[in-house]
């Protein structure tokens, strides 16, 4: 096992460009991506060495020297990516340029059942790869918990009932592929650096607010892992005065218990049961319903959403005070639903920090983690085929293993 699957985002950008403009030339790549000709030549050379592109064809340009044509090798292989969430397991098969070719969605379950679901998702994608006659070269899995880099166990993942689950050991005994396992929000951050809202941004935070709450902190293009691979556990910050002078005994972080989907729903339910009038009294109270009711000026829902925005602002202020990010990307089911309330959130953060970050809603929908897993798997595949080329504009903190 080892840490830090490295990959160079610029390589993916070039590969994406070649795939989308197939065939193309080094000059076109350099001009359109704003990279230096020397960088493009170096990257293309590595991609050729790795069997991902061909650079053999030549065509005479308008009167000048013949240009070498760069073309994409679609038959070179594929990777499998998985996002094991609290409610669903999302699997994807992608080619070596990161184009998603097939997907599989199924209910996740908890405990051993969650792992069984994971294997079923993997098998569905392997089957699809066989049908397409694509060799699968690597796999990456995002899990909603902390990966212990020494033991390969997943901790603090209550949404799938894992606390000490030996996910790496179980994958080693089930797979014959190189793989990497990482925290789901870390992978979402990787996706944002690659194809999302933090492209070309060195310092940013991905704050995920959904079934649970977590953050990934990226500094100068590298993920902050911390000593125990546990950096970014924003769900545990202190936000309420009820915590003053009292022990924490329930194991659930205070921030996460308020600033999350279940926290929002529970708060609304409590107020409804206290007899406060609300349109939510006639509905199934879900986080989505609360946010919708708040936008319709329902007083109870508005109160719950105001509390949520206060708590989120607290968390963002803490992140900004400590790490000074340029951008904060809101992820997760609740985070992504905050678009209409974004100005209110920004207004709460700005007065309390010296340099307000740009706060944006994720543009990747529900796919950020699985897309980040594609990138991590591609990085792992590249690292194995060309270790000397791994110069890393981004590192993934995951725990990797290989059987076979």
């Amino acid at each position: 096992m080892r840490h830090a699957t490295m990959l160079e985002v610029n390589e993916f950008l070039v590969l994406d460009y070649v795939r989308e403009h197939d065939p193309t030339s080094r000059t076109e790549i350099a001009d359109d991506l704003g990279l230096s000709p020397a960088s493009v030549s170096r990257i293309v050379g590595r991609l050729v060495d790795d069997g991902l592109v061909d650079a053999g064809g030549r065509v005479r340009s308008n009167g000048g020297r013949p240009r070498a044509l760069i073309s994409y090798r679609r038959d070179a292989g594929a990777v499998i990516a998985l996002d094991l969430g609290g409610t669903r397991c999302h699997a994807a098969l992608a080619d070596l340029a990161g184009t998603v070719l097939a997907e599989d969605l199924r209910l996740a379950g908890t405990g051993d059942a969650a792992f069984t679901t994971l294997l079923a998702g993997i098998e569905a994608m392997r089957s699809e790869a066989r049908r397409r006659e694509l060799p699968v070269v690597a796999l990456a899995v995002g899990v909603p918990g902390i990966l212990d880099p020494e033991s390969g166990r997943a901790h603090d993942a209550p949404r799938v009932g894992w606390d000490g689950f030996p996910v790496v050991e179980r994958l080693l005994s089930s797979l014959d592929l190189p793989f990497v396992v990482d925290n789901d929000v870390n992978l979402a951050a990787l996706a944002h650096a690659w194809r999302g809202d933090a492209r070309h941004v060195g310092d940013f935070v991905t704050l995920s607010v959904g079934t649970g709450t977590g953050a990934a902190i990226v500094s100068d293009g590298r993920l902050l892992q911390g000593r125990h691979n546990a950096a970014g556990e924003v769900g545990y910050i202190v936000v309420r005065k009820e915590q003053i002078g009292r022990p924490v005994t329930d194991g659930l972080g205070a921030f996460e218990s308020f600033a999350s989907g279940p926290g929002v729903a529970a708060r609304a339910m409590a107020l409804v049961s206290e007899g406060h009038r609300s349109i939510l009294g006639d509905l199934e109270i879900t986080p989505e319903a609360v946010l919708e009711a708040a936008l319709q000026d329902d007083a109870l829902a508005r109160r719950v959403v105001d509390e949520l925005l206060d708590d989120l602002a607290m968390g963002i202020v803490a992140l900004v005070a400590l790490v000074d990010p340029e951008v904060v990307v809101l992820e997760g089911g609740v985070g992504r639903a905050l678009g209409p309330l974004l100005d209110e959130l920004r207004a709460r953060v700005a007065p309390s920090v010296p340099f307000a970050p740009r706060i944006v809603i994720s543009s990747l929908g529900q796919d950020a983690t699985v897309l980040g897993a594609v990138a991590a798997a591609l990085g792992l595949a590249r690292q194995r085929t060309a270790p000397a080329a791994v110069m890393g504009a981004f590192s993934v903190s995951g725990v990797a293993g290989h059987a076979g």
Partner: protein, 334 residues
């Protein structure tokens, strides 16, 4: 090639400013002044600081200087520009850097004081050998220098580590024996307004200056054994431990530094309560966080400034300084 001349290191704090001449890391002649005494008619310390530095240098026989390095209790950009004025006389902008450069005609390096304390504790002191460490300076103000991955972490604009700006919930006055909020905010300058209702910045709540004010000025050292004998001061110290615990717990869960080093005069006074602090942080964070006292004492910032100067001089001498000293530091510390 190693730099072999002297450096002039300056540490500007909210209440005291220290400056010293160092040779190969050893502190020689030095002077310690109240920061308030350096403030001139323009409301800033710039002219007074330069004059005091020149005076120290002349009193020492005007030895050849290689560089001047300044530790400053403010956020500082990678090229030594103060990002935000502080209300004890630190002006925003390049005035301090440029004033010293004009007076001494050598490279002047400016960085946040907590960053430099962290550099010193990591290189020479209690955080030596640690890949990740958080060094908290507990003085009149509260600062934080972060060592992440073996290097000082600065953030996108040089403003990382502003732990004094962490918001913590504030109990109602009645819940804290009538003390309520301890002091008014405002030391962060005009870019910051006020903490939201129900919350306080940790520094305005339990920074050393706030604690001394809350103690009525009679006990500036609220953790001194004789002060703790008074019930009201003891309550204040418990209040401080709770506030610090919240800040350290937030830091621990967000950055997972592994080791937290406490430096500064207030930390030294509070040393007997370290176990209490560690227990409470573990309760709030949900895991044990190792908390150590710094080993370099009040000179950590001066030693860090000297390390900064010498490392940049060595970089320049080796010909890899790129566009200049400032750029070298900005690039090398990320």
């Amino acid at each position: 090639m190693r730099a072999d001349g002297m450096t002039l290191a300056i540490d500007i704090g909210a209440s005291r400013s220290r400056m010293a001449l160092l040779h190969r890391g050893a502190i020689g002649e030095r002077v310690d002044r109240a920061t308030a005494d350096l403030v001139g008619s323009d409301g800033t310390i710039t002219a007074g600081l330069v004059a005091a530095a020149v005076s120290l240098h002349q009193d020492a026989g005007s030895p050849r200087l290689e560089a001047v390095a300044v530790a400053i209790a403010a956020a500082v950009s990678g090229d030594g520009i103060v990002l935000q004025a502080r209300d004890f006389g630190i002006p925003a902008g390049p005035a301090i850097r440029d004033g010293l450069a004009a007076a001494f005609d050598v490279a002047v390096l400016v960085d946040n004081d907590a960053n430099l304390a962290a550099l010193a504790e990591h290189t020479l002191g209690a955080a030596r050998g640690e890949e990740h460490a958080a060094v908290i300076t507990l003085g009149t103000n509260i600062g934080l220098g972060l060592i992440l991955g073996g290097t000082v972490y600065r953030g996108a604009r040089g403003a990382a580590g502003e732990i004094g700006l962490l918001l913590v919930p504030v109990a109602d006055s009645a819940e804290h024996g009538g003390e309520g909020r301890l002091v008014d905010a405002g030391s962060f300058g005009p870019a910051i307004s006020r903490a939201p209702a129900g919350y306080a910045w940790i520094e305005e709540l339990v920074g050393g200056g706030a604690l001394a004010t809350a103690a009525g000025g009679t006990h500036p050292r609220v953790f001194a054994p004789d002060a703790l004998a008074e019930p009201s001061i003891r309550r204040l110290s418990e209040h401080a431990i709770e506030g610090w615990s919240m800040a350290i717990a937030d830091l621990a869960v967000l950055l997972d530094p592994g080791v937290v080093v406490l430096t500064g005069g207030v930390a030294t006074d509070a040393a007997p309560l370290l176990n209490v602090l560690q227990r409470r942080v573990a309760e709030l964070a949900g895991f044990q966080v190792e908390i150590r006292l710094g080993s370099l004492g009040p000179d950590a910032e001066l030693l860090g400034a000297d390390l900064l100067a010498r490392s940049s001089l060595e970089g320049a001498a080796d010909g890899d300084a790129g566009a200049g000293l400032s750029a070298q530091i900005a690039g090398g510390w990320r």
